[in-house]
Amino acid sequence: MAALLHLTLGLLFGFVLVNNGAADYDSMQRMFAFEEFRLFGTAIVTTSLTALGLAWLRRSRVAATVSFSRKPVRRGTVVGACVFGVGWGVSGTCPGTALVQLGSGHFIALATIAGIVVGQRLFDALNRRYWHIGDNAC
């Protein structure tokens, strides 16, 4: 049940992101350059409607069974977002859209995905040894 549920939600997510053009490099770069409003508008609508939806979920009957993880500012928030921003800007890709690109036939996205795995492992290794930042990754 749980497996099927996660798989189905993922299927929908991938399907929607392709049709949004959220995984389209050229669209992303035109958004970064402020040449095209479309993806920017998509982001604004997404976040606003999600805010409404999650506010409803917090008051709903099932709220007690949902864990609303907190995301306080912590050591690493700014530096991490900067490092991610560099990768995002160059590749026009985030962890979700890299999988979308692979699925839609851009096999070169395997390089991005491999890089993401290596980067996460690298962080975990360094964090275990030196930094000890609490793990509340989304």
Partner: protein, 197 residues
């Protein structure tokens, strides 16, 4: 390239999933966190099986003896949760299947759209900026390392911080999103200047 959904429908569809996900699974949606969980599950599969715990075995034997002697205690009320409730309440190792789902859903959408897809490029602009396959693979691999490292350090990515966290008004997410948007815009601008000059 055109032929994408208009921004309001696209935004509505993503939001519907970002709300349906915690409604169904009991956890907020965040893709970079799912990568980390996928890695954890995979390394668990390949690590040697844990040794049976002697203390636990002893406790179980004691419990069995006690129950044989004094009979079974009445179970405490609370009927077992069913359906979605059961999924929400139990920790699951199947969450990373969401990532496989993304690949499958994208493949399906690409088949239906029937756009021309170059497996070694991400688009026309991409091809102009990274002319040879070597530079393209290198650029993406290095970007990937930045994405993986940065999202773990910041505790989220475009979905966990940018959509869910900002929607919840979490301060860490608002700050992270502001920073990665600004840096993304600046870096994309630098790419254009350097390559387009």
């Amino acid at each position: 390239m055109s032929g994408f959904w208009p921004w309001y429908w696209g935004g509505f569809a993503v939001a519907a999933i970002a709300v349906a996900y915690p409604y169904c699974t009991g956890r907020l949606l965040g893709v970079s966190g799912l990568y980390a969980r996928a890695l954890a599950v995979i390394s668990e599969l390949f690590s040697p099986a844990p040794q049976p715990d002697e203390d636990a075995a002893l406790l179980a034997a004691l419990e069995a003896e006690t129950q044989a002697e004094f009979g079974h205690p009445e179970p405490l009320a609370a009927p077992a949760p069913t359906g979605l409730d059961a999924v929400r309440r139990s920790p699951t190792r199947s969450a990373p299947l969401f990532l496989l789902g993304i690949i499958g859903g994208a493949a399906l959408a690409a088949l239906l759209r029937a756009d021309a897809v170059d497996p070694l490029k991400l688009g026309q602009l991409f091809g102009e900026r990274f002319a040879t396959p070597t530079t393209a693979v290198l650029a993406l691999a290095v970007s990937g390392v930045c994405i993986g490292f940065g999202t773990r350090l910041a505790g989220g990515c475009t979905s966990g911080h940018g959509i869910t966290g900002v929607a919840c008004g979490e301060r860490g997410s608002l700050l992270a999103t502001l920073v990665f948007w600004s840096v993304g815009v600046a870096v994309a601008r630098l790419c254009v200047l350097r390559i387009g000059a």
